[in-house]
């Protein structure tokens, strides 16, 4: 390849072009920037802009020759049906609870891998905890269905032990939903927490413990503050993941705990002129979840500057 490029330099126009690139970093940069800028506009910005626009339409696709009238009707529909509002509120409460639960469950795991285990074994244990996350959400939900179903592994085990005479209802309710969601979210909490905890100097912890600090004090006064960045990142990632969950709640959750993303999907795929309504719901979901994240980050970042 190099030989070919060296040969190509005998060819005048090519040499002029490549010399121009060497001489003018600006030209080089401009050429490199074309494709990325185009992509950012087409893939990252335009679809969202179009979605926001469609959410103000009365119907879509428009009848030919008609100019679109902008309306707030789609947004009103959201506030008129209690079904939508309760699912919406439930989603955000559930997301907040799931985020807190994930933090509580994963923090000791991240602490154990990054602070207790000897350095050369850390990566192996981390990989062990990460490996299941290369698998599809659907396959993982399926695995939990097999665990929790009435004739599934857990119930069979309980009945074999004689702990229960007939199957316990584990599937299609909040239990199965929570177990499944935790299974999805742990990675997004584990990696930022691990990265943050790993950076903490062990000597700080030793010093505190030499000075007689209790374990809880060390946790509260040293480890928590120094890993704040990781905690914030993890919580934000998990929260956004849960608010957008679509498939897992349909497989593991019951009819009474539908999350808002499923409703958005249903509304959007419904026959008829449902794109504007689906768009409006998406805009609401996106706006509120990003607002939550912004408030959350503002709260905790300001605390850091005070300290």
């Amino acid at each position: 390849m190099t030989r070919f490029l060296v040969l190509a330099r005998r060819f005048g126009p090519y040499r002029a072009f490549s010399d121009a690139l060497s001489m003018h970093p600006g030209l080089r940069y401009g050429l490199v920037a074309v494709l990325p800028v185009l992509w950012i506009v087409v893939a990252n910005i335009a679809p969202l802009a179009r979605m926001v626009l469609i959410s103000f339409y009365e119907s879509f696709p428009l009848p030919p020759g008609e100019t679109p009238t902008l309306t707030l009707a789609q947004y009103q529909a959201f506030f008129e049906r209690p079904l939508y509002l309760t699912a919406f509120a439930r989603t955000f409460i559930f997301a907040a609870l799931a985020t807190a639960l994930t933090l509580f469950v994963i923090f000791p795991i991240a602490y154990y891998i990054s602070k207790v285990v000897p350095r050369d074994k850390r990566l192996r244990l981390l990989l062990l905890a990460i490996a299941p996350f290369w698998i599809s959400e659907i396959i993982r939900s399926f695995a939990w269905i097999l665990m929790l179903a009435n004739r599934g592994a857990v119930n069979s085990f309980l009945m074999w032990m004689g702990l229960t005479g007939r199957p316990v209802e584990l599937l299609y309710n909040n239990i199965s939903l929570t177990i499944g969601v935790l299974y999805l979210t742990s990675l997004y909490m584990l990696l930022p927490l691990y990265a943050a905890l790993e950076k903490i100097d062990d000597r700080l912890i030793e010093a505190a413990s030499d000075l007689g600090a209790l374990r809880f004090t060390i946790l509260r006064r040293i480890i928590m503050p120094l890993s704040r960045e990781g905690i914030i990142t993890g919580c934000v990632l998990v929260f956004l993941l849960v608010t957008g969950l679509y498939a897992l709640p349909q497989l593991l959750g019951g009819p009474s705990n539908t999350l808002f993303a499923s409703i958005v999907g249903q509304v959007f795929s419904r026959a008829g002129d449902s794109w504007p309504l689906g768009s409006a719901f998406s805009v609401i979901l996106m706006g509120v979840s990003l607002a939550f994240v912004a408030i959350f980050m503002a709260l905790f970042q300001s605390r850091r500057t005070r300290a």
Binding site: A33, N44, R50, Y111, L125, L146, S279
Partner: protein
Amino acid sequence: MKTLGRLTLPVYFWLFVAYLFLPLLVMAAVGFRDSNFVAFPIQAWTTRWYQSVVFERDIMSSIWVSVKVALGATALSLIIGIPMAFFVAGLRGFRRAAMIAVIMLPAFLPVIVAAISLRMFIGVLGLQTGIGAIIFGHAVSTIPFVVVMILTRLGAMSPNLADAARDLGADEFIVFLRVTLPFLMPAIFGGAVFSMLLSFEDFVRSFFLGGFEPTFPVLLFSKLRFGFDPGLAAISTMVLVASIVIGLYAERFSRRRQLGNSSKIVALDQR
């Protein structure tokens, strides 16, 4: 008391590992059950599910669709992601932060929002729902990760390397091919495998952007809504093992390359 305290964390950790792996092991075991129904304990064992599922046309064709989509999305995200990393690397200060925010945006949107906005947009690009649209949708979601991985590696590269090559008479193309690209290779490889796995396991985007040919997760989802049999457990197990093996291999490879390469580069730098 002290030993008890010392034991709590390891025990808790291994319980967590059991929580992660037990369902997967149960699923693998169900695939060996000699019956048309799923129940426990498994008394009669058979390998027929693992054998026969390979001949089920709809499952195999959905896996083939998934593979095509994953390869296409990976290629596209490298073609766009590599220049995008260079583009961001050339920015400073506020512009850089703002550009990174815009690039990362698709990774932070609720997945359903991303899928729906793309579904309504593909018509503008002249795409129909189908493999092409899914590839586009997956690339949108994987490019942020590719860019971040390459950008991190790019930040570790000394500008002296490229300058030295230029002083020795290399033109820009040779510098890119012989100096920059080899240095970035671990990050590119890591980003590629990450994109591939992310694309292969995606459900929501494939579901909304797909046409009549479902990807494997979409097919599995629609089958699971009507029930399940040991055959589904068998094929899921096989896909799962393949994903984990590829993921672990890629992780190892890119880490080894990274260590090897950077030490060499450091040695070169100091000379």
